[in-house]
């Protein structure tokens, strides 16, 4: 089988899939062959470089000997060329979802469609996806370049051709000069680069990344994650990236799917997810958030005497917890407040973080003693360092007021 063949197949599938993305249950009949219009041809050409889309529909995964649904009617729809990050704590099913997509796990229900082709019953090695594992996945008896060649070798690509492609891939990840080293002689970061090059060398329809950075040092992690994003954008490969690190997710994703209990709680662009969380789990999992008491009518809440608009899906009632980000709270010295709204608080600690400062305060009015498990209500405020009141120190009295930025009540 030649590479070009495969690309065309993948591309054709993607095109068909693209055309029907508004109705994923539609069949492919009628799209193939004679009905391909000029526009569709353009689309085809476009998607050849982008790889296939993915639909995972009502996927159920139960591990043998367990009754827990590791994936519980899991649904995921990914556009061609998109980079989606599955984010969640340990045991949320994110790796299971990825491994099911790769075919490394059997699923007990639902179906998986890649590039318009139902791959549910297709074995791993016929799915045309490639995977980068957390660590230790390089073959130790092969050099870096031999590792990268492997996928082409099993496809019967000739020696000279595959060496050329492999070198190009190593070049892409900046390791051309390390081509003849064995993997044990390389650092963890270099090993993962080789693994990435190896996965890309077969021009996969979908690239799967299973916590590829979690075994690396912090500095290398940041460097490599930016590089993965750069390469992904260049090649246009549809990519699913699994991680437990929210910063990593926010940095690389087109969209992030936050997972909990074998399902996706919310899937959205990083900014949307941060600013418009749909559930409490999402709001607390990504970024810092304050749980403040308020009275809600479903569209608007009153917190510390300040009106705050609410996001869709917010609860009604009094009291409800309104989730307010630290940067959406204003802080002034007591006595300098220019409105009646706000609550008096005492500064506990000031963390200076460079461009921003974070101030931990304790509400001093004593009105909410039973809100925070019997302890005094605490509020974290984040503001640009230059807006920090001059000379503010621990023990000072301040007034904190939520800004009128949409928040979630629950």
């Amino acid at each position: 089988m030649s590479l070009t063949d495969q690309n065309v197949t993948a591309g054709g599938a993607a095109q068909a899939e693209d055309a029907f993305k508004n109705d994923p249950t539609a069949t492919l009949e009628g799209v193939r062959g004679k009905d391909v219009t000029k526009a569709a041809k353009a689309l085809l050409k476009d998607s050849t470089t982008r790889g296939g889309g993915i639909q995972m529909q009502d996927v159920v995964k139960i591990y043998p000997g367990s009754t827990v649904h590791a994936l519980d009617d899991f649904n995921l729809d990914i556009k061609p060329g998109e980079m989606v990050v599955l984010l969640g704590g340990s045991g949320c099913g994110k790796s299971t979802a990825l491994r099911s997509l790769a075919g490394l796990e059997d699923i007990q229900g639902g179906r998986i469609v890649v590039g318009g082709q139902d791959v549910t019953g297709v074995p791993v090695n016929k799915r045309g996806m490639s995977m980068v594992f957390q660590a230790y996945s390089l073959f130790p008896h092969m050099t870096a370049v031999e590792n990268v060649e492997f996928g082409l070798e099993v496809r019967g690509v000739g020696r000279a051709e595959r060496r050329k492609v492999a070198m190009e891939q190593l070049e892409l990840v900046g390791l051309a000069d390390q081509a003849n080293k064995y993997t044990q002689q390389m650092s963890g970061g270099q090993q993962q680069r080789v693994a990435l090059a190896r996965a890309l060398a077969i021009k996969p329809r979908v690239l799967l990344l299973d916590e590829p950075l979690s075994a690396l040092d912090a500095k290398v992690r940041v460097q490599l994650r930016d590089e993965i994003r750069r390469i992904q954008l260049n090649t246009g490969t549809t990519t699913v990236f699994v991680t437990h690190d929210q910063e990593e997710a926010l940095a690389v994703a087109d969209r992030i799917g936050v997972m909990n209990h074998g399902r996706i709680e919310q899937i959205a662009a990083p900014q949307d997810l941060y600013q418009r969380p749909a559930t409490e789990y999402v709001a607390t999992f990504i970024g810092l958030t304050n749980r403040l008491p308020g009275a809600s009518d479903g569209t608007e809440a009153v917190v510390f005497g300040q009106r705050v608009p609410l996001l869709p899906g917010s609860k009604q009632g009094d009291p409800v917890a309104v989730l307010v980000r630290p940067e959406n709270i204003a802080l002034v010295r007591a006595g300098e407040a220019d409105s009646a709204a706000g609550e008096h608080a005492r500064v506990e600690v000031i963390h200076f973080l460079g461009a921003v400062a974070r101030v931990d305060c304790e509400i001093s009015s004593g009105e909410y003693p039973h809100w925070n498990k019997g302890e005094q209500l605490k509020v974290t405020v984040q503001l640009p360092a230059n807006e920090l009141p001059a000379g503010l120190a621990a023990g000072d009295e301040v007034v904190v007021t939520p800004r009128p930025v949409a928040a979630l009540a629950c």
């Binding site: 599938a13 796990e105 059997d106 229900g109 179906r111 074995p123 916590e211 075994a215």
Partner: protein, 297 residues
């Protein structure tokens, strides 16, 4: 490209998708079962035959537990066997176990600890020497030990089998070395020593209060494996003309093979118990080594 529609209707009907991985696991477990069954049968049949052999008199075909009764009561008269030689051999072997283990520990532990802290080169030299007996077969060693033992027994010591311990320490050295080396590598001896020295501990105190307690698992496993080697040793004792358990078993086997087979089975069983214990100990070492707090998920 498959027909999506068809598959979809199948899914709607509630049929489970193909379980490819599970099928492979099933195939693997069949292969695994067949291989293990054949291997274990080969390993266990002789052991079971030994047991049956001790219970069934070979000539008369009568079943009785007489050999076992003879061993546990210490009286072999009912079978017309004199067990003195067996008790002599067993006594000698047990004594040898004790002396060999003590001598081995005295010789190996302090040396290995200090060399581990101080000198990589000397550590390598010791490793080379200590594992050398794997390359020099016991049968070869015994040819050279002959004159040495002849001189020792006539000039310095006597012909008591206990002096075999000198040769036995050499025989157990490779095994003991590995056991202790595993322990040394699993703890950071250097930091431990520096920490306790900085807290004002003297060298003997460091050794007995800090290092030994951290190495006891290795020391125990080195001792167990040495005991197992000494109990099974035949070559050196028989060729130097000394009595030990295996020599006694061999001699007894000429006159009463049932009792010697029963005793062999007991010794093998004891060896298995020792090694299961050894396995549990080394697992604990492994755990304490990987027990360091890990970050991540």
């Amino acid at each position: 490209m498959k027909n999506v529609n068809q598959n979809q209707t199948a899914a709607v009907k509630g049929a489970m998708p193909p379980q490819l991985r599970a099928a492979r696991v099933r195939k693997q477990s069949v292969i695994k079962f067949v291989i293990l069954f054949i291997t274990l049968a080969f390993l266990f049949v002789p052991l079971i035959a030994m047991l049956v052999f001790t219970l069934r008199h070979p000539l008369s075909g009568r079943w009785s537990a007489a050999p076992w009764i003879a061993i546990f009561t210490g009286n072999g008269e009912s079978l017309g066997a004199d067990l003195t030689v067996l008790w002599q051999g067993l006594g000698a072997s047990l004594g040898l176990c004790l002396v060999t283990v003590v001598l081995m520990l005295l010789l190996m532990v302090p040396t290995m600890v200090i060399v581990h802290i101080r000198s990589k080169a000397l550590e390598r030299a010791i490793e080379w020497v200590a594992t050398l007996p794997l390359t020099i077969p016991a049968i070869v060693l015994v040819v050279g030990l002959g004159p040495i033992y002849r001189w020792l027994s006539s000039q310095v010591l006597d012909t008591n089998p206990i002096w075999l311990c000198f040769a036995y320490v050499v025989l157990v050295m490779p095994f003991a070395f590995r056991a202790i080396a595993v322990g040394l590598n699993s703890i950071d001896v250097k930091t431990l020593v520096e920490a306790s020295r900085s807290l004002g501990a003297s060298w003997p105190k460091v050794f007995f209060r800090v290092i030994i307690p951290n190495l006891w698992q290795s020391i125990l496993s080195a001792s167990f494996i040495s005991i197992a080697v000494v109990l099974g040793e035949y070559t050196v004792a028989s060729l130097l003309g000394r009595m030990n358990l295996q020599v006694a078993l061999y001699q007894l086997g000429q006159s009463n093979s049932q009792i010697s087979t029963a005793m062999s089975l007991l010794a093998l069983l004891f060896g298995v118990v020792l090694l299961v214990a050894l396995d549990l100990i080394s697992e604990r070492i492994g755990k304490s080594r990987t027990g360091e707090p890990k970050e991540g998920k």
